[in-house]
Symmetry: C2
Subunit: 345 residues, 2 copies
């Protein structure tokens, strides 16, 4: 009994393969591969025929197969919190540029600040065999990445450190920046200074809070609980917190805002008040200099964070790195007016 011919499985809308190109050009499969990859050892005449055949068929090399064979994908992954946030947008773009310079594609995904989604994304990227991974952690336990790292996936954490594993990370000096910003307010004579930040389980938020506390302590000012708000950064909660600490018999005369999302809400609340309240904000904002008064900020350099992390990643891939390191980038205080207002008791 003759073999029944197998029906081919579904293919990518029936795209031509090297085999098809070879058949049309009347050459061997490997010769096409050589032409496509610019390898030497092909007569100009043969090459011409192959090129013509490629054009005619609209052939495009299937990188999945290539990857399978070669073991390198020439792609890296970036897990961040939310691409719609300009801070992460700038960071992502910086990583992309470094990747591009290394002939590498960047795949990024948003975790939406959800640890589970972070893990899901990171592992999906590993399953696609990205060569490396830049992670802006949402969760605080990254042991799930251990097998991947051991298997050779270069990994760098940015903005927040890795949890429970030893890995490269690139951070801003959150503690130092916040401390400097609060000290700036104290130097202008403020004593009752509010702090509105994100949930302290987030490393950056915790560090900034620590900077606030230290600055206050350095100045010998006991901090009252009513001055601090630590929680989600949705407008409603922030608004409520701000209004709370601005009212009562002993309201704060200045506010330190823990991140850009908090800041936009705080600015709105302050704009509704008549009594001037000083403000220093962590993270810079577009147009911050054009508000009345201009917003004094502790700026971090998102692009530098991304660039540094990506460069470190490629150094890992080139095999030139010994032990994980923690790199901290400085922040910069930019005085624009809001942070220089005197206390108005």
């Amino acid at each position: 009994m003759p073999e029944t011919p197998r029906r081919p499985d579904s293919r990518y809308g029936n795209r031509p393969t090297m085999k098809d190109v070879a058949a049309r050009a009347g050459v061997g499969l490997k010769t096409v591969s050589r032409v496509v990859n610019g390898e030497p050892g092909v007569t100009p005449e043969t090459e011409r025929r192959v090129q013509e055949s490629i054009e005619a068929l609209g052939f495009r090399r299937n990188d999945s197969a290539r990857v399978l064979r070669k073991g390198r994908t020439a792609s890296i992954g970036l897990v961040l919190e939310d691409l719609a946030d300009p801070f992460y947008g700038a960071l992502s773009r910086a990583v992309e540029e470094v990747a591009r310079a290394h002939g590498t594609l960047l795949i990024n995904g948003s975790s939406a600040e959800d640890p589970e989604r972070e893990q899901e994304l990171a592992l999906a990227l590993c399953a696609r065999r990205v060569d490396g991974l830049v992670v802006i952690p949402a969760g605080d336990d990254h042991r799930y990445l251990e097998p991947e790292i051991k298997a050779g996936v270069a990994t760098v954490f940015v903005d927040r450190p890795a949890g429970r594993i030893d890995a490269d990370c690139v951070l801003s000096d959150n503690y130092g920046g916040a401390r400097e910003g609060v000290a700036h307010l104290i130097a202008r004579g403020h004593r009752r200074i509010g702090f509105i930040g994100d949930m302290p389980r987030i490393h950056t938020a915790a560090e900034r809070l620590r900077g606030y506390r230290t600055a206050m302590q350095d100045a010998g000012i006991p901090v009252e609980d009513a001055w601090m708000s630590l929680g989600a950064t949705d407008p409603q909660r922030v608004r409520h917190a701000a209004e709370e600490m601005l009212s009562g018999p002993e309201p704060v005369t200045a506010v330190f805002s823990g991140n850009n999302r908090v800041t936009v809400t705080v600015i709105r609340v302050l704009a509704e008040r008549t009594r001037p309240v000083a403000l220093v904000a962590f993270d810079d904002l577009e147009l911050a200099d054009l508000l009345q008064p201009g917003v004094t900020v502790v700026a971090q350099d998102a692009a530098a964070l991304g660039r540094t992390a990506a460069e470190r990643l490629f150094r890992q891939l080139e095999g030139g790195l010994a032990t994980p390191e923690r790199i901290e980038l400085p922040t910069r205080l930019i005085a624009r007016g809001s942070g220089e207002l005197p206390p108005a008791d």
Copy 2:
């Protein structure tokens, strides 16, 4: 003479494969595949053994091989201009959410407004066999995508239409929005109205300019060349253009700004002047309502653009679409003060 054993080619840092997992669990290869993919037909006991083996070895399925076999990558590509621009960040995020709902990964790349780079990126994504492509065009000739589309890559253009090919596209009503914005100024009594926009080779810029011209014409106001600036959107050029049209014996009393990059510079220039000048800007800005005066804008909905495009893409993939369509989303005029200033001659 005995066969010399082949040395294995380089592999991904020697990751375990299904074969390894099968060997350790004492089962067949296909059984592991079944467990990994949750296919039926495996005894609980066998499944347990396999799971244990997977854990122990730190196995992760190789999606490249899977893709090769299955023909679908469960990923789509997004070619945009610059992720660091909040407008595109929001758009990208919206596309990502739709993709995620379809179990699909999003790969995005920045063209930096360079047509060649756009093409390079789009084709690189096709080589990775993305199932679909969302493109925010930088160039104006997309015939290079024809073979891909014919081969089954679903394609949707956003923000700007495709050039020289027939394809789905999702746009904002740039013409109508600009026209409405300029008419808004005319209704407040302005006649000398400046327009500062991007290079007219960019579709959105051309359409907005057309809206400006139409609104002026509708009001019977002849437009003078000195009122229009069409070119790159770097701060220096924009600043120069703005200062130019604000000085001289017959300066403009209002400015229509063609996009968000232009707007930030125009605001700066206006803030330096004492004579109030009205402003309506295309694209919304964070904090635009907190400036003095608040900035009146013609807002487009980046998220809606992205969402609509992505949904259309998946409809294409499900095969439910007949002919390419051009979808236009409305813009929204938001009056905040700057656009309601009367002319100050």
